[in-house]
Symmetry: C2
Subunit: 407 residues, 2 copies
């Protein structure tokens, strides 16, 4: 049949990313990959998870673990999150917490809640490509959020109207940004809240990497600053704090959460009820049990390993990259962002890097809503051994050097 005739207009836009096709080559075992933004399986708390599944199923909640459950999420897990949020300056109640199947799902639901076709989302250039993917299903346009500037708020409104809609929210990865590894300063967070207040729009704070700080000074979450602006009352705030257990415990259980004012949490619960009823009951119980038992020690373990890898990668870049190549110095997370000399193309470099140097990364253009960023690339160090880093970055440096020489 003629599928194009029955697809919604949003479906016409969907196509597999060329980069993902290219990265499929990574299945070759001799490629050194800095591409995947994924945690190291060797660090998963596998024993604690296995024990928790056994205990949940053998315990009082064993039947309930296999049954349908409420769309807002398992109450004891929400209570655990309330306690954890209090530690980072976010006083809230269980009614402010909503459990989702990973924090990716929150981004989809926020798109569903806010975006009509041609509405505008404010995002950074570059930004998390999965956020662009989630929002794209609702056919928005994008406007550029940072760096801070004196650009008048009215110019965002004007641009949105010109695009045929309204400014609906600002999205930012506040800590150890995917892809850049950078962290928003307190000043940038306050500036963002000022802008959001002027525009009267919500702020989506993607905190997927929040727990993974290796050094530098802790900055209050945007939601914490927003709560402080409203006399400690989260129910007067405009910020959605999106958290994830995927980087701290394990992504395979698909458990994330959002913390926000309870009025909008109730709307998100309705969205979830219609979209997939609820996240896996048993997985929520298991994550609750594992978090209760080993969260703090697990985070310490991960930070030890990843901070070492971050150090190794920064040292290797320093040693191997030719002049004219720049990179970020992340205080946490999983990523270093590399800017190549102008005129170089990250995607073309990837093709050569895989074929000739047996090294992979993600070209930066995929993270840019406007298709810019040709001369950038993302390196992930979370799964890289010392040897992989030493060898891989050295080969990449040589390739870039010879490309520059040939140009």
């Amino acid at each position: 049949m003629d599928w194009e005739k029955v697809f919604a207009s949003r479906a016409m836009r969907m196509k597999a990313s060329e980069i993902r096709e290219l990265l499929k080559l990574l299945e070759q075992p001799d490629i050194i990959s800095f591409a995947g933004g994924i945690p190291d399986v060797a660090l998963f708390p596998k024993e604690a998870v296995s024990k928790a599944y056994g205990e949940v199923l053998a315990g009082d909640q064993g039947d309930a673990a296999l049954q349908y459950s409420v769309s807002e999420g398992y109450k004891p897990l929400r209570d655990w999150i309330v306690k954890e949020m209090a530690k980072i300056g976010i006083p809230c109640n269980a009614t402010n917490v909503f459990i989702t199947s990973g924090s990716q799902q929150v981004l989809d639901y926020l798109g569903k809640l806010f975006l009509s076709p041609n509405d505008t989302a404010l995002v950074t250039w570059p930004t998390y490509m999965g956020a662009l993917g989630a929002f794209n299903a609702y056919e928005p346009t994008y406007d550029k959020l940072l760096p801070m500037s004196n650009r008048p708020a009215s110019s965002y409104v004007d641009a949105a109207e010109k695009a045929g809609g309204r400014v609906k929210f600002a999205y930012a990865v506040a800590e150890f940004h995917n892809p850049t590894g950078e962290t928003m300063t307190k000043g940038e967070r306050e500036w963002l809240l000022d802008l959001a207040e002027t525009l009267d729009i919500p702020v989506v704070e993607d905190a997927a990497y929040q727990a993974l700080r290796y050094d530098g000074e802790t900055v209050p979450p945007i939601l914490a600053l927003d709560i402080a602006r409203h006399g400690g009352d989260i129910n007067k705030t405009r910020t959605f704090y999106c958290g994830s257990f995927s980087k701290t415990l394990a992504p395979g259980l698909r458990v994330g959460w959002v913390v926000a004012n309870e009025e909008v949490v109730r709307k998100l619960v309705l969205i979830k009820q219609a979209a997939d009823l609820h996240s896996s009951t048993i997985n929520q119980m298991v994550i609750g049990k594992v978090a209760d038992g080993v969260f703090a020690e697990q985070v310490e373990k991960i930070k030890r390993v990843y901070s070492h890898r971050r150090n190794q990668m920064l040292a290797a870049l320093q040693k191997s990259m030719p002049a004219g190549v720049e990179w970020t110095k992340p205080e946490g997370g999983m990523f270093v962002w590399v800017t190549l000399p102008k005129g170089m193309d990250g995607a073309a470099l990837l093709a050569k890097a895989i074929a000739e140097a047996k090294v992979a990364f993600v070209p930066g253009r995929a993270f840019h809503a406007d298709g810019s960023g040709q001369n950038t690339l993302r390196l992930s160090f979370s799964c890289a051994s010392d040897e992989m880093i030493e060898t891989g970055i050295s080969r990449l440096g040589s390739l870039i050097r010879s490309e520059l020489a040939a140009a």
Copy 2:
């Protein structure tokens, strides 16, 4: 802040169902409930599930079980589904199978794939209220699908154009319909395919209850008939077969699937990648293992118990209901659909039933896209003991009798 200003138009429509509010009263322990359309926890294969979690985590796939995985779903589970589909007349390959977080999620994704605002979905009056909930997020209108009629296909097109869009798909619960318990005849299925071919639209076949047939003759799935029309080639069909493990194994793991032509499966994979990356890796592995081990015996066990309860409920209705009350005689599933004498109102009856008779059910209007069906209600027998059925239906019969006498 002024949330209404930033909500998408679809979000304005979302509100908590009044019925759900009413059914919260069910938490009172002395209420006999025929309301929930959920499986009996006592029948879950809890030991097999517990053993499978332990084995998966201890085995070769233990690390992978906790890691991110592909959006299309775990290959061995898709292979198991391929074999199971072959048994019911649906020859397919793993490329035709897509794993989702319950079959509810398929409905959401099909809405996302096909429906632009004001497009028309053809549904039965009544139909599964969760399907209406999923589709409503994409702002469609509805037109009435069955009973079979000589209504010309062009009249569907005209009505859809008048509503401001196009006819995008037909949705049907082919077996043991939720809420009516009824099964579409082979003639109705062929009629539906004829109509879909004339309109050149896809057919969504909700097969959540397909395995739960207690008696009567098996009818080929709509997808099987569609494949037969195309020389055995599923990739030429227009039907989406939506399956679920929630009624056979356990809903708490949130694993369902869709079988369809691979061109559109690829689109669904892109939707999932943007919406929640993938369903829980470990739960897919566990479901695969449990299905491989105990699926057939588990289905036999459930059928024995539920068919007995169906018999008890039909006998109790026969014994207790006054003249003028009618009900369906389902050959499987979980539901009996009751039609009250004209003028009676199911929602008003529920309020009285909870307060006076301590009995609960779901009023039928929630299942009607046009808000009709006032004089109908759904009874679920899946979780009801003999005593609950005997006492509850007797009390409900007396209440209806006295309501009729008072009218």
